[in-house]
Amino acid sequence: MDIYHIIKRPLVTEKGTHQSQGSQAATRTKPARGGAYTFEVHAGASKPEIKQAIEKIYNVKVRAVRTANHEGKRRRYRFKIGKTSDWKKAVVVLHGDYHIDLF
């Protein structure tokens, strides 16, 4: 799969902005905070593929990738019942020295 097909778009949200800001190192009880950027990715993409794609597109070093599959929402139009597409979210944690300008 092409790297530009793996990464669909960055998700610019309030939560995502919070996760990207600050740079707290991980403690014994809490994970590291900051430097995490959220993207919508191809539903079939794996974590190593996402890592590789992000590193190539944004020229950064990725420390970790967390993913989550989101089931599409149910939608009804008059008497027809449908569903929006399932999608995958990836939270990419960068090494401390790197940073992505999303906006």
Binding site: L11, V12, T13, E14, G16, T17, F103
Partner: protein, 519 residues
């Protein structure tokens, strides 16, 4: 009156109205928002007033070029304020209201804010400069901008740019807000003339003593009775001047009958009959009786519609069949009641009073005119050329439009316009001078017209026009004539104040009309 001068006054007059219509929603959120907007704009103006750098250049004839520079730090400060305010209300997908990061807000709304800021900086920058330099401009400024040269028809687009003077709405398209550094723009403005008032006490005025004679009242009484006069047949006696005659009429040329009409209606007096001017008809008819034949000689004009009468000597003969005379009925109760009187003597007094008031008002107008003339002769100042030119052009174009509507040929209208231009300019300069002098006097003496006075003027206008007060007021407001009315009433007040201090010389009672007419 100048349109520019009116705007400010109109705002003052209309302000009260605006507040009154807002009675219920006075504390509504819209009003609060409006207030906040106002204070924000005032703050911006205050910031700009402190910061703008203005270079003045006198262009002569009360014109001035202003080169206004807004420093970069002020631009940045105002821009930050704009974005901070926007951030509070911005709704961006993925963020709660007011929680979007500033950088995102800046990026997303940069174009809109930039445009808004540009117009705000140019408009408020101009006002700030005018305030700071204590200038008194007339009307709106024209901004000097560089625009691309327009290509002439049939030619490839011309390279290069050209400088133009444009009103703010058009000029803003050609002003760019620099990414860094100051914003500099230039405008030209006409200035209110500075004038020194002459001695205003003891202005010589000839005001006639008002006296209405019995003959004047008699004439008016007869005129009123004439409304009910009717033509009655005259059985005995001869024709008198202005009688109405019914006759058989023939027009003969060289003994040949050209026109023959029966029951032809004619007024006893000289006049035209079928395109022929009958010079001695009045004299010929006088004293004639029923059945008499009156013959008058006439000459057909060269362009007469009837070819047989063109340039020919014609004989016009009338055989009188009926004589009718205008009979004015005496005053009766019904007639008197229409005027709200019970006796003729009462009506005479009413007529006398009306005539006295009419003469008094004409004499007052004449006195005002004499004062205006004195003020013009004793006050030396210049009027901005552009303003008087615009005023004259406005008068001419209004009159031209009237002529178009009345169906005058275009060539004739243009000829009239060319001939009248000089006169109109002269009149415009005079009107403007009087306007500025009266404005200065009103300002110095703090003569203001209260809303009650305006309302009473509208009420009397409504009464005369047979309309309701509120409808009349609405009409005046929608036509933008309320400001003109304000100025008219204010000018009257100024003239009256000057007249009260004038050296009034009483003219002979008989000279009332001559003084009124000579001015």
């Amino acid at each position: 009156m100048t349109d520019e001068g009116l705007a400010m006054q109109q705002d003052e007059v209309l302000d009260d109205d605006a507040t009154s219509t807002d009675s219920e929603g006075g504390e509504s959120s819209a009003a609060v928002h409006e207030e906040a907007e106002l204070s924000k704009e005032e703050k911006t103006k205050a910031k700009l007033k402190e910061a703008v750098i203005t270079r003045k250049e006198d262009l002569g004839s009360l014109r001035m070029k202003l080169t206004i520079t807004v420093p970069p730090e002020t631009i940045h400060e105002i821009m930050s304020d704009e974005f901070a305010e926007l951030k509070r209300d911005a709704l961006i997908p993925g963020f709660r209201k007011g929680h979007a990061p500033m950088r995102l807000v800046e990026k997303r709304f940069a174009t809109d804010v930039g445009e808004q800021l540009k117009s705000q900086l140019v408009a408020n920058g101009y006002f700030a400069a005018v305030d700071k330099e204590n200038l008194k401009p007339l009307g709106d400024p024209l901004f000097r901008v560089t625009v691309p040269q327009e290509a002439k028809e049939g030619q490839p687009s011309a390279p290069g740019t050209v400088e133009k003077l444009l009103p703010i709405t058009e000029a803003l398209e050609h002003v760019t807000l620099p990414k860094s550094g100051p914003l500099t723009f230039a405008c030209e403005v006409e200035l209110r003339p500075e004038l020194e008032l002459p001695e205003l006490k003891g202005i010589p005025v000839r005001k006639p003593t008002i006296q209405v004679t019995d003959a004047d009242v008699d004439a008016e009484m007869r005129r009123l009775r004439m409304h009910r006069a009717t033509f009655q047949p005259v059985e005995e006696g001869g024709v008198e001047l202005d009688d109405m005659l019914y006759s058989d009429m023939t027009i003969c040329v060289e003994g040949r009958e050209i026109v023959k009409e029966t029951d032809f209606e004619i007024r006893a007096g000289n006049g035209y009959v079928r395109g022929l001017y009958l010079e001695g008809l009045g004299a010929a008819l006088r004293g004639r009786r029923l059945g008499d034949v009156v013959t008058v000689q006439a000459k057909g004009p060269d362009d007469h519609e009837n070819l047989e009468l063109r340039g020919k000597a014609a004989e016009v003969a009338f055989t009188i069949r009926e004589i009718k005379r205008l009979v004015v009925p005496p005053w009766d109760d019904e007639q008197l009641e229409r005027f709200g009187c019970t006796t003729e003597a009462e009506l005479r007094e009413l007529v006398r009073g009306a005539q006295e008031r009419g003469l008094e008002s004409r004499a007052r107008e004449a006195a005002h005119e004499q004062i205006a003339q004195y003020l013009l002769e004793h006050t030396q100042f210049e009027i901005p050329g552009g303003l008087s030119q615009r005023q004259a052009e406005q008068t001419i174009s209004r009159r031209k439009m009237q002529m178009y509507r009345q169906g005058y040929p275009e060539a004739e209208i243009e000829k009239w316009a060319d001939e009248s231009r000089g006169r109109a300019l002269e009149q415009a300069v005079r009107d403007l001078k009087v306007f500025f002098i009266l404005e200065k006097i009103a300002e110095d003496r703090k003569i203001r017209v209260s809303e009650e006075v305006i309302n009473s003027a509208i009420a009397s206008m409504a009464k005369r026009a047979g309309k309701r007060f509120d409808r009349m007021r609405d009409e005046l407001m929608s036509d933008n004539r309320l400001s003109a009315l304000y100025l008219e009433v204010r000018d009257e007040a100024v003239f009256d104040a000057l007249l009260a201090e004038a050296a009034v010389e009483a003219a002979e009672p008989g000279a009332a009309n001559s003084v009124v007419e000579s001015t």
